[in-house]
Amino acid sequence: MRAVWAMALKDIRLLLRDRMGCFFALVFPLCIAIFFGSIFGGGGGGKGIQVAVVDEDLTPGSSAYIAALKDGDELVVKTEIATAGPDEVTSQQPLTRETATNLVRRGKLDAYIIITKGFGKARDNIFSGNSMRLEVGVDPARKAAVGMLEGVLTKYAFERMAESFADPKKMREQAKTSLAEIQKSPTTNPLLKPAAERFFGTLDGFLAVMPDSSTSDAATGENAGANGVVGVGGVGGGGWQPVKIETSAVLPDGPVIKNAYAITFPQGIIWGVMGCAQSFGLSMAMERSKGTLVRLRAAPIRRWQVLAGKALACFLFTIAICALLLLLARFGFGVVPTSLPLVALAVVSIAICFVGIMMLLAVAGKTERGSGGLAWGIMLLLSMIGGGMIPLEFMPGWMKTISVISPIRWSISALEAGVWRGLGIADIALPVVILVAIGIVGFMLGLRAYAMNESD
């Protein structure tokens, strides 16, 4: 064990004396965390937002709205969840407000949408003065997606209006119904009633002379809807809001996030970890090219001890880098982890995982240049598909699906759990198990490849 320690300390010493290596292990990830923290304010947005939709209205109108959301390209809609019954038979159950919130809190989905009671009625009588009210809860890490999500929800809500305008007969019925409701409503301002009567009278006259779009080349529903958002929304800015979206962040159960850096530091830390793994992996190629590996192999130590020394150095340095960046996050950027034990567990499992990756990198390339290129290529690929470079929510659905093969994804999930999501041990178990498994498999494969490479 003394030999392994000696080699580990040697590798750490060499890395600390390598300015470029230190830059990529420490300074670069810090830049990443600060950069993303500054420009995103914590997250992203884009096509393929995964949402949970909870239908509390349970009307044909709300069902039609959900169907429209599902048919659209913008969102990946989940309305049910698999639940195991007492007889252990799994069945699909509609999402509830609680289950949807939990899915978002755990980072499984980007947002939830609650279709509140009265939505369908308001949708069918758009001039009644009642709003189609939606409650939206967004993962704070996906904050940038809020704008797009609201736009998409509004668009599909107004498609109904476009349909109505496309069918004047139906629209006239709606207008009449709405006027009747306004007139008999005790809560409506009496001064508004004459105005509503004039408006609906004019509208009725307009619709009476309007051609039926089912027989004309009127604008498509999509275009009409898009235009409708702008036009009607503008009018409604004062008192009338046909669609009312109340957005809130789904915060962890623990302390509230104070700033975006809580979300971006895990990402930055992973870059530091990647830098470590790459440096130590590359150091094996350097040992080989400079000849020091010959001396190590000629020494009376076992073959695995040479790699174990590197693995230990990588493990210790990774933990040190994580600790240092977390301390910087805490005291420099006010990021207070929700659970230190979970953060510690995540850091250890990440270190194990990247030791395994480092082992594979160490044996993969024969030359420094080859190893360096290979290491960067692999790390960039894993980072790209795992959300280390571009947040996952910017990616299309299929990329989100394949991101499960990237340890970067699991590393970020594990860190987020304890840094700001306020999750429990059960929630972090899967990422931890996956990370440790990757580490063990990588270590074993690395040892085997090393034994094969160096025996001849």
Binding site: R2, A3, A6, M7, K10, R13, L14, R17, D18, K290, G291, T292, V294, R295, L296, R297, A298, A299, P300, I301, R302, S455, D456
Partner: protein, 281 residues
């Protein structure tokens, strides 16, 4: 001390070492002489356990082959490439390697200090190796092979690319090793070094052992005759002889001799005789 029996090693279609057998006696300097690519380093690498032979055996003092770590502990190796960490100091390098050979922290420090004194680098012991000259690095590379006081030392081209001063220091150190009872295996493509240092020399080319003997024995068997050249004005007489002194004394008559030269055969002549080409080709 070291017995190699029918060693063979190939890399693809290239035969690096071909059925090589020899015995190296304890307390001697054994030279492997041959051009670059002759198979010297491959033989050394098999002898220290860095390469596995395709066939044949290596035995160290009846204790088995160097795939066993305990056997490797008896060998000190100075590889041809300077196997040192540039970003570490001389002391840090030596202490690290001493630790790998099982020395305690204190013993490693003491031994490092002692060896740095021997190779003349005490005053630079805390400087990083990257600041050293080529000769200093070579000396340190050699010192790293002696940390655990091994009975067998393998030196692979230990003077490659060094200045004459460092070369002399290294050769002196090698002689000292032998005087201390160590066995030294010394590969080189410099015939002068082999002639100056080695008790026995194996001439190797294309992986084959061509000849093995003392330097004098090799020259006597394969070197050919000495050549005595006597200049008389513009004329030059060249006489091949086995006894140049007798030949010269019998011909030193008259006062018209303007110059005399005796060219004795050397290892270069031996190599030329054995391979048909020069060692420097």
């Amino acid at each position: 001390m070291l017995t190699l029996t029918n060693l063979r090693k190939t890399f693809g279609r290239t035969v690096a070492v071909d059925d090589l057998s020899l015995k190296i006696e304890q307390g001697s300097i054994f030279g492997f002489l041959g051009p670059n690519g002759a198979g010297k380093s491959t033989t050394i690498n098999m002898a220290v356990g860095l390469l596995r032979p395709d066939s044949g055996t290596v035995d160290l003092d009846g204790r088995g082959d160097p795939s066993d770590a305990a056997v490797r502990a008896l060998i000190g190796v100075a590889p041809q490439a300077i196997a040192l960490y540039d970003e570490m100091t001389a002391t840090e390098n030596l202490v690290l390697f001493a630790t790998l050979y099982g020395l305690s922290r204190t013993a490693a420090s003491n031994r490092s200090r002692e060896l740095l004194e021997v190779i003349g680098l005490s005053d630079r012991r805390d400087h990083r190796v990257k600041t050293y000259s080529g000769g200093m690095k070579r000396r340190l590379n050699l010192a790293a092979a002696l940390l655990h006081d091994p009975p067998l030392v393998m030196l692979d081209e230990p003077t490659a690319g060094v200045d004459p001063q460092s070369r002399n220091a290294i050769l002196d150190l090698v002689r000292t090793m032998r005087d201390q009872g160590r066995t030294v295996v010394y590969t080189t493509h410099y015939m002068e070094e082999a002639a100056r240092l080695c008790d026995r020399v194996a001439i190797i080319d294309h992986g084959k052992l061509l000849a093995l003997d003392t330097v004098d024995g090799l020259i006597a068997r394969f070197g050919g005759h000495s050549v005595v050249t006597i200049q008389r004005g513009a004329n030059e007489d060249r006489i091949e002889t086995n006894d140049p002194v007798a030949e010269l004394s019998s011909r030193l008559r008259g006062n018209d001799i303007s110059g005399v030269r005796i060219d004795r055969p050397d290892l270069e002549s031996v190599f030329l005789h054995l391979t048909g080409r020069s060692l420097r080709d």
